[in-house]
Amino acid sequence: MTVQEFFRKIFFIEILKGLSLTLSRLFTKPVTRRYPKQKRPAALGFRGLHALVRNPATGDVKCVGCGLCAAICPSRCIYIYTSEGPEHQKIVDRYEIEVLRCVYCAFCVEACPFGAIVLTPHYEYANYRREDFYMTKEKLLENWDKYMGDKGLDYFDKFWNPKSSHFTTPEGQAVWRHKDG
Protein backbone atom coordinates (compact mmCIF):
# COMPACT_ATOMS: atom_id res chain seq x y z
CA MET A 1 0.00 0.00 0.00
CA THR A 2 1.50 3.29 -1.06
CA VAL A 3 1.20 6.43 1.00
CA GLN A 4 -1.29 7.83 -1.48
CA GLU A 5 -3.56 4.81 -1.22
CA PHE A 6 -3.31 4.97 2.54
CA PHE A 7 -4.48 8.56 2.59
CA ARG A 8 -7.25 7.78 0.14
CA LYS A 9 -8.50 5.10 2.44
CA ILE A 10 -8.24 7.07 5.67
CA PHE A 11 -9.95 10.21 4.45
CA PHE A 12 -12.60 8.43 2.28
CA ILE A 13 -11.55 10.36 -0.79
CA GLU A 14 -13.93 8.37 -2.99
CA ILE A 15 -16.92 9.10 -0.79
CA LEU A 16 -15.95 12.76 -0.48
CA LYS A 17 -15.76 12.98 -4.28
CA GLY A 18 -19.24 11.51 -4.51
CA LEU A 19 -20.54 13.93 -1.90
CA SER A 20 -19.09 16.89 -3.77
CA LEU A 21 -20.71 15.67 -6.97
CA THR A 22 -24.16 15.40 -5.41
CA LEU A 23 -23.73 18.77 -3.74
CA SER A 24 -22.82 20.40 -7.03
CA ARG A 25 -25.90 18.84 -8.63
CA LEU A 26 -28.04 20.37 -5.91
CA PHE A 27 -27.51 23.77 -7.46
CA THR A 28 -28.22 22.84 -11.08
CA LYS A 29 -31.54 23.22 -12.83
CA PRO A 30 -33.69 20.06 -12.89
CA VAL A 31 -34.13 18.42 -16.26
CA THR A 32 -37.71 17.41 -15.48
CA ARG A 33 -40.47 18.23 -17.99
CA ARG A 34 -43.67 18.58 -16.00
CA TYR A 35 -45.60 16.66 -18.63
CA PRO A 36 -49.28 17.43 -18.45
CA LYS A 37 -48.56 21.11 -17.86
CA GLN A 38 -45.58 21.41 -20.14
CA LYS A 39 -46.03 19.42 -23.33
CA ARG A 40 -43.24 18.52 -25.61
CA PRO A 41 -44.05 19.29 -29.26
CA ALA A 42 -43.87 16.17 -31.41
CA ALA A 43 -41.21 16.11 -34.07
CA LEU A 44 -42.15 16.19 -37.73
CA GLY A 45 -43.17 12.74 -38.89
CA PHE A 46 -44.22 11.62 -35.43
CA ARG A 47 -46.44 8.58 -35.73
CA GLY A 48 -49.47 9.27 -33.56
CA LEU A 49 -53.20 9.02 -34.09
CA HIS A 50 -54.43 8.16 -37.59
CA ALA A 51 -56.27 10.56 -39.88
CA LEU A 52 -57.66 10.56 -43.41
CA VAL A 53 -56.74 13.55 -45.54
CA ARG A 54 -59.68 15.74 -46.48
CA ASN A 55 -59.68 16.76 -50.09
CA PRO A 56 -60.09 20.54 -50.10
CA ALA A 57 -61.79 20.40 -53.51
CA THR A 58 -64.56 17.97 -52.63
CA GLY A 59 -64.54 18.10 -48.85
CA ASP A 60 -64.47 14.35 -48.78
CA VAL A 61 -61.61 11.86 -48.39
CA LYS A 62 -58.74 11.82 -50.84
CA CYS A 63 -58.78 8.05 -50.60
CA VAL A 64 -59.77 6.19 -53.76
CA GLY A 65 -60.19 2.81 -52.13
CA CYS A 66 -57.32 1.06 -53.90
CA GLY A 67 -56.63 -1.03 -50.78
CA LEU A 68 -52.83 -0.78 -50.87
CA CYS A 69 -52.73 0.36 -47.25
CA ALA A 70 -54.88 -2.54 -46.14
CA ALA A 71 -52.67 -4.89 -48.14
CA ILE A 72 -49.38 -3.69 -46.65
CA CYS A 73 -50.63 -3.33 -43.07
CA PRO A 74 -48.70 -5.86 -41.00
CA SER A 75 -51.31 -6.07 -38.29
CA ARG A 76 -54.26 -6.08 -40.71
CA CYS A 77 -56.14 -3.40 -38.91
CA ILE A 78 -57.47 -1.41 -41.89
CA TYR A 79 -60.84 -2.31 -43.34
CA ILE A 80 -62.04 -0.69 -46.59
CA TYR A 81 -65.50 -1.20 -48.09
CA THR A 82 -66.17 0.21 -51.52
CA SER A 83 -69.10 0.27 -53.96
CA GLU A 84 -69.69 1.32 -57.53
CA GLY A 85 -70.99 4.83 -58.12
CA PRO A 86 -73.39 6.11 -60.85
CA GLU A 87 -70.51 6.95 -63.21
CA HIS A 88 -68.80 3.65 -62.61
CA GLN A 89 -66.35 5.23 -60.21
CA LYS A 90 -65.24 3.61 -56.98
CA ILE A 91 -66.83 5.07 -53.86
CA VAL A 92 -65.27 4.50 -50.44
CA ASP A 93 -68.26 3.68 -48.23
CA ARG A 94 -66.42 2.81 -45.09
CA TYR A 95 -62.79 3.21 -44.12
CA GLU A 96 -62.11 1.83 -40.66
CA ILE A 97 -58.99 1.43 -38.54
CA GLU A 98 -58.74 -0.59 -35.36
CA VAL A 99 -56.31 1.68 -33.53
CA LEU A 100 -55.62 -0.77 -30.71
CA ARG A 101 -54.18 -3.28 -33.16
CA CYS A 102 -52.07 -0.77 -35.06
CA VAL A 103 -48.30 -0.96 -34.59
CA TYR A 104 -47.66 2.58 -35.93
CA CYS A 105 -45.23 1.46 -38.63
CA ALA A 106 -46.66 4.06 -41.07
CA PHE A 107 -46.41 1.58 -43.95
CA CYS A 108 -49.92 2.66 -44.95
CA VAL A 109 -48.73 6.25 -45.28
CA GLU A 110 -45.81 5.10 -47.40
CA ALA A 111 -47.92 2.81 -49.54
CA CYS A 112 -50.67 5.32 -50.30
CA PRO A 113 -50.16 6.68 -53.84
CA PHE A 114 -52.42 9.69 -53.18
CA GLY A 115 -51.17 10.78 -49.79
CA ALA A 116 -54.61 10.12 -48.37
CA ILE A 117 -53.76 8.71 -44.95
CA VAL A 118 -51.45 10.19 -42.30
CA LEU A 119 -50.35 9.58 -38.76
CA THR A 120 -50.88 12.85 -36.88
CA PRO A 121 -48.54 14.11 -34.14
CA HIS A 122 -51.40 13.79 -31.65
CA TYR A 123 -50.53 11.23 -28.98
CA GLU A 124 -52.80 11.91 -26.00
CA TYR A 125 -55.80 9.77 -26.75
CA ALA A 126 -55.91 7.35 -23.84
CA ASN A 127 -59.46 6.27 -23.14
CA TYR A 128 -61.49 3.95 -21.00
CA ARG A 129 -63.64 2.50 -23.80
CA ARG A 130 -62.43 0.20 -26.52
CA GLU A 131 -65.16 1.37 -28.90
CA ASP A 132 -63.59 4.82 -29.05
CA PHE A 133 -60.47 3.31 -30.56
CA TYR A 134 -62.37 1.94 -33.52
CA MET A 135 -61.98 4.75 -36.04
CA THR A 136 -64.60 5.20 -38.73
CA LYS A 137 -64.19 7.38 -41.81
CA GLU A 138 -65.95 10.33 -40.17
CA LYS A 139 -63.77 10.14 -37.09
CA LEU A 140 -60.63 9.88 -39.19
CA LEU A 141 -61.60 12.97 -41.18
CA GLU A 142 -62.33 14.79 -37.96
CA ASN A 143 -58.84 13.84 -36.74
CA TRP A 144 -57.37 15.46 -39.82
CA ASP A 145 -59.22 18.70 -39.14
CA LYS A 146 -58.29 18.66 -35.49
CA TYR A 147 -54.66 17.61 -35.47
CA MET A 148 -53.27 18.08 -38.96
CA GLY A 149 -55.39 20.72 -40.66
CA ASP A 150 -53.03 23.42 -41.82
CA LYS A 151 -49.91 21.46 -40.92
CA GLY A 152 -50.84 18.67 -43.33
CA LEU A 153 -49.20 20.12 -46.43
CA ASP A 154 -46.06 20.86 -44.44
CA TYR A 155 -45.99 17.28 -43.28
CA PHE A 156 -46.18 15.77 -46.75
CA ASP A 157 -43.81 18.33 -48.17
CA LYS A 158 -41.10 18.21 -45.54
CA PHE A 159 -41.33 14.68 -44.29
CA TRP A 160 -42.23 12.62 -47.34
CA ASN A 161 -40.66 14.78 -50.00
CA PRO A 162 -37.88 16.56 -48.15
CA LYS A 163 -35.43 19.06 -49.54
CA SER A 164 -31.93 19.49 -48.19
CA SER A 165 -33.03 22.61 -46.30
CA HIS A 166 -35.32 20.50 -44.18
CA PHE A 167 -32.55 18.39 -42.73
CA THR A 168 -31.96 20.28 -39.48
CA THR A 169 -32.17 18.90 -36.01
CA PRO A 170 -35.35 19.82 -34.15
CA GLU A 171 -34.82 22.35 -31.37
CA GLY A 172 -35.97 20.18 -28.49
CA GLN A 173 -34.05 17.07 -29.43
CA ALA A 174 -31.07 15.93 -27.36
CA VAL A 175 -28.12 15.47 -29.70
CA TRP A 176 -24.40 15.62 -29.49
CA ARG A 177 -23.43 18.85 -31.15
CA HIS A 178 -19.91 19.25 -32.32
CA LYS A 179 -17.96 22.16 -30.92
CA ASP A 180 -17.47 23.75 -34.36
CA GLY A 181 -21.13 23.93 -35.19
Binding site: R25, L26, T28, P30, V31, T32
Partner: protein, 351 residues
Protein backbone atom coordinates in the same frame (compact mmCIF):
# COMPACT_ATOMS: atom_id res chain seq x y z
CA UNK B 1 -51.13 4.64 55.63
CA UNK B 2 -53.52 2.80 53.39
CA UNK B 3 -52.74 3.62 49.79
CA UNK B 4 -56.37 3.26 48.71
CA UNK B 5 -57.56 6.04 50.99
CA UNK B 6 -55.01 8.41 49.58
CA UNK B 7 -56.35 10.01 46.45
CA UNK B 8 -54.36 12.28 44.20
CA UNK B 9 -56.81 15.13 44.79
CA UNK B 10 -56.18 15.08 48.50
CA UNK B 11 -52.51 15.31 47.75
CA UNK B 12 -52.95 18.50 45.80
CA UNK B 13 -55.25 20.01 48.42
CA UNK B 14 -52.55 19.88 51.05
CA UNK B 15 -50.72 23.14 51.81
CA UNK B 16 -47.53 23.61 49.79
CA UNK B 17 -48.66 21.27 47.05
CA UNK B 18 -49.60 24.16 44.79
CA UNK B 19 -46.02 24.41 43.56
CA UNK B 20 -46.15 20.81 42.44
CA UNK B 21 -49.27 21.51 40.44
CA UNK B 22 -47.66 24.52 38.78
CA UNK B 23 -44.62 22.45 37.98
CA UNK B 24 -46.73 19.74 36.39
CA UNK B 25 -48.55 22.32 34.28
CA UNK B 26 -45.25 23.85 33.20
CA UNK B 27 -43.94 20.43 32.22
CA UNK B 28 -47.13 19.66 30.31
CA UNK B 29 -46.85 22.94 28.42
CA UNK B 30 -43.20 22.17 27.63
CA UNK B 31 -44.16 18.71 26.38
CA UNK B 32 -46.86 20.20 24.20
CA UNK B 33 -44.45 22.74 22.71
CA UNK B 34 -41.71 20.19 22.08
CA UNK B 35 -44.10 17.62 20.61
CA UNK B 36 -45.77 20.16 18.38
CA UNK B 37 -42.53 21.58 17.06
CA UNK B 38 -40.97 18.17 16.54
CA UNK B 39 -44.01 16.71 14.77
CA UNK B 40 -44.07 19.72 12.46
CA UNK B 41 -40.39 19.17 11.77
CA UNK B 42 -40.95 15.47 11.14
CA UNK B 43 -43.65 16.28 8.58
CA UNK B 44 -41.45 18.76 6.80
CA UNK B 45 -38.36 16.57 7.13
CA UNK B 46 -40.01 14.16 4.70
CA UNK B 47 -40.70 17.01 2.30
CA UNK B 48 -37.20 18.38 2.71
CA UNK B 49 -35.72 14.94 2.13
CA UNK B 50 -37.64 14.34 -1.06
CA UNK B 51 -36.86 17.81 -2.31
CA UNK B 52 -33.14 17.62 -1.49
CA UNK B 53 -32.64 14.18 -2.95
CA UNK B 54 -34.69 15.14 -5.96
CA UNK B 55 -32.58 18.18 -6.66
CA UNK B 56 -29.39 16.20 -6.12
CA UNK B 57 -30.59 13.75 -8.75
CA UNK B 58 -31.47 16.70 -11.04
CA UNK B 59 -35.17 16.05 -10.53
CA UNK B 60 -37.72 18.38 -8.98
CA UNK B 61 -39.13 16.40 -6.08
CA UNK B 62 -42.73 17.01 -4.99
CA UNK B 63 -44.22 19.88 -6.98
CA UNK B 64 -47.94 19.28 -7.36
CA UNK B 65 -49.60 19.77 -3.96
CA UNK B 66 -49.53 23.44 -3.11
CA UNK B 67 -46.85 25.87 -4.26
CA UNK B 68 -43.65 23.89 -4.86
CA UNK B 69 -45.34 20.89 -3.25
CA UNK B 70 -45.34 22.52 0.17
CA UNK B 71 -48.56 20.80 1.23
CA UNK B 72 -47.25 17.35 0.31
CA UNK B 73 -46.66 16.21 3.92
CA UNK B 74 -50.25 17.08 4.82
CA UNK B 75 -51.53 15.16 1.81
CA UNK B 76 -49.36 12.18 2.78
CA UNK B 77 -50.63 12.32 6.33
CA UNK B 78 -54.27 12.42 5.21
CA UNK B 79 -53.66 9.52 2.85
CA UNK B 80 -52.06 7.37 5.53
CA UNK B 81 -54.80 8.28 7.98
CA UNK B 82 -57.60 7.10 5.73
CA UNK B 83 -55.88 4.02 4.38
CA UNK B 84 -57.21 0.58 5.19
CA UNK B 85 -55.48 -0.93 8.19
CA UNK B 86 -54.56 -4.47 7.19
CA UNK B 87 -53.44 -7.01 9.76
CA UNK B 88 -52.02 -10.32 8.53
CA UNK B 89 -54.12 -13.34 9.43
CA UNK B 90 -51.38 -15.23 11.24
CA UNK B 91 -49.83 -12.21 12.91
CA UNK B 92 -49.42 -12.12 16.66
CA UNK B 93 -52.06 -9.45 17.09
CA UNK B 94 -51.12 -8.00 20.47
CA UNK B 95 -47.47 -7.58 19.63
CA UNK B 96 -48.40 -6.38 16.17
CA UNK B 97 -50.40 -3.57 17.78
CA UNK B 98 -47.76 -2.74 20.37
CA UNK B 99 -44.65 -2.73 18.16
CA UNK B 100 -45.14 0.64 16.38
CA UNK B 101 -46.07 2.27 19.68
CA UNK B 102 -42.91 0.92 21.33
CA UNK B 103 -40.89 2.21 18.42
CA UNK B 104 -42.42 5.67 18.56
CA UNK B 105 -42.32 5.84 22.35
CA UNK B 106 -38.63 5.03 22.42
CA UNK B 107 -37.90 7.69 19.82
CA UNK B 108 -40.10 10.36 21.37
CA UNK B 109 -38.99 9.96 24.97
CA UNK B 110 -35.43 10.90 24.01
CA UNK B 111 -36.77 14.35 23.17
CA UNK B 112 -37.43 14.93 26.86
CA UNK B 113 -33.81 15.45 27.82
CA UNK B 114 -32.60 17.55 24.92
CA UNK B 115 -31.88 21.18 25.82
CA UNK B 116 -33.27 23.20 22.94
CA UNK B 117 -32.36 26.40 24.66
CA UNK B 118 -30.62 27.45 27.84
CA UNK B 119 -32.22 25.29 30.56
CA UNK B 120 -35.19 24.55 28.31
CA UNK B 121 -35.51 20.80 28.49
CA UNK B 122 -38.63 18.90 29.44
CA UNK B 123 -36.59 16.96 31.97
CA UNK B 124 -33.22 18.35 32.92
CA UNK B 125 -31.82 15.12 34.33
CA UNK B 126 -28.23 14.35 35.21
CA UNK B 127 -28.01 11.22 33.07
CA UNK B 128 -29.39 12.82 29.92
CA UNK B 129 -26.86 11.36 27.53
CA UNK B 130 -27.21 7.89 29.00
CA UNK B 131 -30.97 8.19 28.75
CA UNK B 132 -30.78 8.98 25.05
CA UNK B 133 -28.44 6.06 24.42
CA UNK B 134 -30.76 3.73 26.30
CA UNK B 135 -33.84 4.95 24.46
CA UNK B 136 -32.28 4.80 21.02
CA UNK B 137 -31.38 1.16 21.58
CA UNK B 138 -34.84 0.50 22.99
CA UNK B 139 -36.15 1.54 19.59
CA UNK B 140 -34.83 -1.68 18.15
CA UNK B 141 -37.34 -3.52 20.33
CA UNK B 142 -40.12 -2.04 18.26
CA UNK B 143 -38.35 -3.15 15.12
CA UNK B 144 -37.71 -6.70 16.30
CA UNK B 145 -41.22 -7.11 17.70
CA UNK B 146 -42.80 -5.82 14.50
CA UNK B 147 -40.61 -8.11 12.41
CA UNK B 148 -41.44 -11.12 14.53
CA UNK B 149 -45.15 -10.52 14.94
CA UNK B 150 -45.82 -9.86 11.25
CA UNK B 151 -45.31 -13.54 10.38
CA UNK B 152 -43.46 -12.57 7.22
CA UNK B 153 -40.00 -13.70 6.20
CA UNK B 154 -39.05 -10.28 4.90
CA UNK B 155 -40.16 -8.52 8.03
CA UNK B 156 -38.46 -11.08 10.23
CA UNK B 157 -35.16 -10.82 8.38
CA UNK B 158 -35.40 -7.03 8.57
CA UNK B 159 -35.96 -7.22 12.30
CA UNK B 160 -33.04 -9.57 12.83
CA UNK B 161 -30.72 -7.45 10.76
CA UNK B 162 -31.78 -4.35 12.62
CA UNK B 163 -31.23 -5.89 16.04
CA UNK B 164 -27.72 -7.04 15.16
CA UNK B 165 -26.91 -3.70 13.60
CA UNK B 166 -28.22 -1.53 16.40
CA UNK B 167 -26.51 -3.70 19.01
CA UNK B 168 -23.13 -3.42 17.35
CA UNK B 169 -23.33 0.26 16.53
CA UNK B 170 -24.64 1.52 19.83
CA UNK B 171 -21.39 0.38 21.44
CA UNK B 172 -19.45 2.51 19.00
CA UNK B 173 -21.79 5.43 19.52
CA UNK B 174 -21.66 5.25 23.30
CA UNK B 175 -17.87 5.02 23.20
CA UNK B 176 -17.63 7.97 20.83
CA UNK B 177 -19.71 10.05 23.23
CA UNK B 178 -17.49 9.04 26.15
CA UNK B 179 -14.89 11.50 24.84
CA UNK B 180 -17.44 14.30 25.13
CA UNK B 181 -18.44 13.17 28.60
CA UNK B 182 -14.81 13.17 29.70
CA UNK B 183 -14.21 16.67 28.40
CA UNK B 184 -17.42 18.08 29.86
CA UNK B 185 -17.22 16.04 33.03
CA UNK B 186 -20.95 15.52 33.01
CA UNK B 187 -23.74 13.47 31.48
CA UNK B 188 -26.19 16.34 31.81
CA UNK B 189 -26.86 17.80 28.37
CA UNK B 190 -27.14 21.32 29.75
CA UNK B 191 -23.79 20.98 31.47
CA UNK B 192 -22.20 19.62 28.29
CA UNK B 193 -23.30 22.69 26.34
CA UNK B 194 -22.18 25.06 29.07
CA UNK B 195 -18.80 23.33 29.25
CA UNK B 196 -18.44 23.70 25.50
CA UNK B 197 -19.15 27.42 25.65
CA UNK B 198 -16.29 27.80 28.10
CA UNK B 199 -13.92 25.68 26.04
CA UNK B 200 -11.30 27.58 23.96
CA UNK B 201 -12.64 26.36 20.59
CA UNK B 202 -16.25 26.94 21.60
CA UNK B 203 -17.32 23.51 20.38
CA UNK B 204 -16.12 19.97 20.86
CA UNK B 205 -15.97 19.25 17.15
CA UNK B 206 -12.33 20.29 16.85
CA UNK B 207 -10.71 18.28 19.67
CA UNK B 208 -13.18 15.40 19.26
CA UNK B 209 -13.00 15.04 15.48
CA UNK B 210 -12.35 11.28 15.66
CA UNK B 211 -15.20 10.85 18.07
CA UNK B 212 -17.40 12.93 15.81
CA UNK B 213 -16.59 10.76 12.82
CA UNK B 214 -17.42 7.61 14.78
CA UNK B 215 -20.58 9.26 16.06
CA UNK B 216 -21.80 10.25 12.60
CA UNK B 217 -21.29 6.78 11.14
CA UNK B 218 -22.84 5.11 14.17
CA UNK B 219 -25.78 7.53 14.09
CA UNK B 220 -26.44 6.64 10.46
CA UNK B 221 -26.44 2.95 11.36
CA UNK B 222 -28.46 3.47 14.51
CA UNK B 223 -31.31 5.17 12.66
CA UNK B 224 -31.19 2.62 9.82
CA UNK B 225 -30.37 5.19 7.18
CA UNK B 226 -28.38 4.76 3.99
CA UNK B 227 -25.68 3.47 3.61
CA UNK B 228 -26.64 1.23 6.52
CA UNK B 229 -30.31 0.73 5.72
CA UNK B 230 -30.05 -3.04 5.52
CA UNK B 231 -33.08 -3.60 7.80
CA UNK B 232 -35.25 -1.94 5.19
CA UNK B 233 -33.28 -2.75 2.06
CA UNK B 234 -35.88 -2.31 -0.68
CA UNK B 235 -34.11 -4.48 -3.19
CA UNK B 236 -33.88 -7.49 -0.89
CA UNK B 237 -36.53 -7.18 1.79
CA UNK B 238 -39.32 -5.19 0.08
CA UNK B 239 -39.51 -2.72 2.97
CA UNK B 240 -37.95 -4.63 5.85
CA UNK B 241 -39.57 -4.89 9.25
CA UNK B 242 -42.70 -2.88 8.42
CA UNK B 243 -43.74 -4.67 5.21
CA UNK B 244 -47.00 -5.89 6.72
CA UNK B 245 -47.96 -2.57 8.24
CA UNK B 246 -50.30 -0.15 6.58
CA UNK B 247 -52.21 3.01 7.31
CA UNK B 248 -51.67 4.71 10.63
CA UNK B 249 -49.42 1.98 12.07
CA UNK B 250 -47.06 2.38 9.16
CA UNK B 251 -47.13 6.12 9.74
CA UNK B 252 -46.07 5.54 13.37
CA UNK B 253 -42.96 3.70 12.19
CA UNK B 254 -42.26 6.40 9.69
CA UNK B 255 -42.58 9.11 12.30
CA UNK B 256 -40.37 7.11 14.68
CA UNK B 257 -37.67 6.88 12.03
CA UNK B 258 -37.70 10.61 11.40
CA UNK B 259 -37.88 11.48 15.09
CA UNK B 260 -34.87 9.21 15.58
CA UNK B 261 -33.07 11.15 12.90
CA UNK B 262 -33.93 14.47 14.50
CA UNK B 263 -32.78 13.09 17.87
CA UNK B 264 -29.42 12.20 16.35
CA UNK B 265 -29.26 15.67 14.89
CA UNK B 266 -29.99 17.17 18.30
CA UNK B 267 -27.40 14.93 19.90
CA UNK B 268 -24.74 15.96 17.40
CA UNK B 269 -25.69 19.61 17.84
CA UNK B 270 -25.55 19.37 21.63
CA UNK B 271 -22.41 17.28 22.00
CA UNK B 272 -20.27 18.49 19.13
CA UNK B 273 -21.60 21.76 17.73
CA UNK B 274 -22.15 23.55 21.00
CA UNK B 275 -25.95 23.36 21.31
CA UNK B 276 -27.62 26.75 21.55
CA UNK B 277 -24.33 28.66 21.83
CA UNK B 278 -22.00 29.87 19.13
CA UNK B 279 -18.24 30.07 19.63
CA UNK B 280 -17.06 33.23 21.38
CA UNK B 281 -14.65 34.18 18.57
CA UNK B 282 -17.52 34.42 16.09
CA UNK B 283 -19.31 36.81 18.43
CA UNK B 284 -16.09 38.81 18.70
CA UNK B 285 -15.89 39.21 14.91
CA UNK B 286 -19.63 39.77 14.36
CA UNK B 287 -20.92 41.18 17.67
CA UNK B 288 -24.52 41.62 16.49
CA UNK B 289 -24.93 37.83 16.35
CA UNK B 290 -25.27 37.64 20.10
CA UNK B 291 -28.78 39.09 19.85
CA UNK B 292 -29.93 36.06 17.85
CA UNK B 293 -31.80 33.70 20.20
CA UNK B 294 -29.96 30.47 20.92
CA UNK B 295 -32.77 28.27 19.71
CA UNK B 296 -32.08 29.54 16.19
CA UNK B 297 -28.49 28.32 16.36
CA UNK B 298 -29.67 25.02 17.75
CA UNK B 299 -32.21 24.43 14.99
CA UNK B 300 -29.72 25.50 12.32
CA UNK B 301 -27.25 22.94 13.62
CA UNK B 302 -29.92 20.24 13.65
CA UNK B 303 -30.97 21.16 10.10
CA UNK B 304 -27.37 20.86 9.00
CA UNK B 305 -27.03 17.37 10.46
CA UNK B 306 -30.34 16.28 8.96
CA UNK B 307 -29.27 17.71 5.61
CA UNK B 308 -26.09 15.63 5.87
CA UNK B 309 -28.26 12.55 6.36
CA UNK B 310 -30.03 13.29 3.07
CA UNK B 311 -26.82 14.23 1.36
CA UNK B 312 -25.26 10.90 2.30
CA UNK B 313 -28.40 9.08 1.26
CA UNK B 314 -28.27 10.69 -2.16
CA UNK B 315 -24.63 9.70 -2.58
CA UNK B 316 -23.57 6.44 -0.98
CA UNK B 317 -24.91 3.01 -1.97
CA UNK B 318 -25.79 0.40 0.61
CA UNK B 319 -23.06 -1.60 2.32
CA UNK B 320 -23.03 -5.36 2.32
CA UNK B 321 -23.90 -6.97 5.64
CA UNK B 322 -20.41 -8.30 6.40
CA UNK B 323 -18.95 -4.90 5.48
CA UNK B 324 -21.37 -3.28 7.88
CA UNK B 325 -20.29 -5.57 10.70
CA UNK B 326 -16.59 -5.19 9.97
CA UNK B 327 -16.88 -1.39 9.88
CA UNK B 328 -18.67 -1.46 13.20
CA UNK B 329 -16.44 -3.86 15.06
CA UNK B 330 -13.04 -3.50 13.40
CA UNK B 331 -12.96 0.21 12.63
CA UNK B 332 -15.37 2.25 14.71
CA UNK B 333 -14.98 0.60 18.11
CA UNK B 334 -11.14 0.65 18.06
CA UNK B 335 -11.24 4.25 16.84
CA UNK B 336 -13.62 5.24 19.61
CA UNK B 337 -11.47 3.46 22.19
CA UNK B 338 -8.36 5.21 20.88
CA UNK B 339 -10.23 8.49 21.07
CA UNK B 340 -11.06 7.84 24.71
CA UNK B 341 -7.45 7.00 25.52
CA UNK B 342 -6.08 10.08 23.76
CA UNK B 343 -8.67 12.35 25.35
CA UNK B 344 -7.86 10.96 28.78
CA UNK B 345 -4.11 11.34 28.35
CA UNK B 346 -4.40 14.90 27.10
CA UNK B 347 -6.80 15.82 29.86
CA UNK B 348 -4.44 14.51 32.53
CA UNK B 349 -1.43 16.22 30.91
CA UNK B 350 -3.17 19.59 30.63
CA UNK B 351 -4.21 19.35 34.24
Amino acid sequence: MNIFEYSIFEYFLKPGSFDVLVNIIIILVKIAIVLGVVMFHVAYATYFERKTIGRMQVRMGPMEVGPHGLLQPIADMLKLFFKEDIIPEKADKTIFYIAPIVSLMAAMSSLAVIPFYKDFAVANINIGLLFILAMSSLGSYGIILSGWSSDSKYAFLGGLRSSAQVLSYEIAMALSLVGVMMMAGSLNMNEIVKAQAEYPTGLYLIPQIIGFFVFVVAALAETNRTPFDLPEAESELVAGYFVEYSGMRFALFYVAEYVGMIIMGCLAATCYFGGWTIPWYIIKILPFLKYVPGVVWFTLKVYFVVFCYYWIRATVPRYRYDQLMSIGWKLLIPLALANIAITGIIKVMVK
